[in-house]
Symmetry: C2
Subunit: 187 residues, 2 copies
């Protein structure tokens, strides 16, 4: 069913340039841009995933400003964008929160620049989501991407986004926007 | 022809919330995310448009870091993303730069949440761009959008992006990504 889709942005554990496992920083634009994209495409919850206390506090402060503080008065639409944005300390925690709500198995969807045996096209995943009643959790990695252990838990892996150039290095914020549009857009 | 497309992000003149004409600030993410999207979809030049000296200096400093400074060593792909990013002091200046290069009329394309007599679908515009040899300049407004005088110069106005919710407030960075994918993506 269309309204059973969750999205997570993983700040830990992800790879850095040298394939070390690191925690990246939450950026203001990860919160704003992706909350707005998720709200536009009717995602049930957007989880910002980080175990780092200072990052959690920062994220809560930014969201608080728009949800309850001055920002709410300044821009009602931004408050609305944040109503479905949540924090989680780990991918596992986010999955637990979803399971408790839905009482169903959670299917992890990831994206990769590579092709895997369980790679799926945008069209096929869109069809599935519209026609079954399973729960989907689309995960995006920051930094140099999700670690292998998370990738291996994927039910499906979305095909890489290709433009027309032989350059394929979108920001995670742009990738989220394009992928949501490809799966859920009116086109 | 496919390779005759330019993109501009307008920081002045745009409306603020109260429909005053203002100059907005260039953000780091306007530079990075949109340069990377433009490079991925093979846009000829991405113009960051602002007449404000301090903003021009800031933008040049950020781009310099990635094009020639330490950033170049750290991330080659980011340097590559910036090779087609330029600054212009006004929409008119950007059009002049394009005209000098191409020696042809420049067709302005804008986007709007409203429908106009010259509104065009993504599919139709994509067809046009692939099949004719005209020059297209896709303009995006920051703040609360491009002023009417610019909108009136549009050859075509792209239909609003609709998700599935009755909420439609994407960030300009997300809107650029989705629109480039709709026109030029492999889907």
């Amino acid at each position: 069913m269309r309204n059973n889709v969750y999205l997570g942005l993983v700040h830990y554990p992800v790879y850095n340039k040298n394939k070390d496992v690191v925690a990246t920083s939450v950026t203001n634009f990860d919160i704003h841009d992706i909350s707005r994209s998720c709200r536009t495409y009717d995602i049930k919850n957007y989880f910002i995933i980080t175990p780092v206390d200072a990052q959690i506090e920062l994220t809560e402060r930014i969201m608080g400003y728009w949800k309850e503080g001055e920002g709410k008065e300044y821009n009602k639409k931004r408050e609305e964008a944040f109503t479905r944005t949540e924090l989680a300390k780990s991918v596992e925690d986010a999955i637990e929160i979803i399971k408790e709500k839905e009482n169903k198995k959670v299917n992890i969807i990831t994206t990769s620049a590579k092709i895997f045996p369980n790679s799926i096209s945008y069209e096929k995943l869109s069809e599935k989501i519209y026609n079954d009643d399973e729960i989907y959790f689309i995960l995006f990695g920051t930094g140099w991407g999700l670690i292998d252990e998370i990738m291996e838990k994927s039910e499906y892996i979305l095909e890489p986004i290709r433009g027309r150039a032989n350059y394929n290095h979108l920001s995670v914020r742009s990738a989220v926007a394009i992928i949501l549009d490809r799966i859920f857009g009116e086109n």
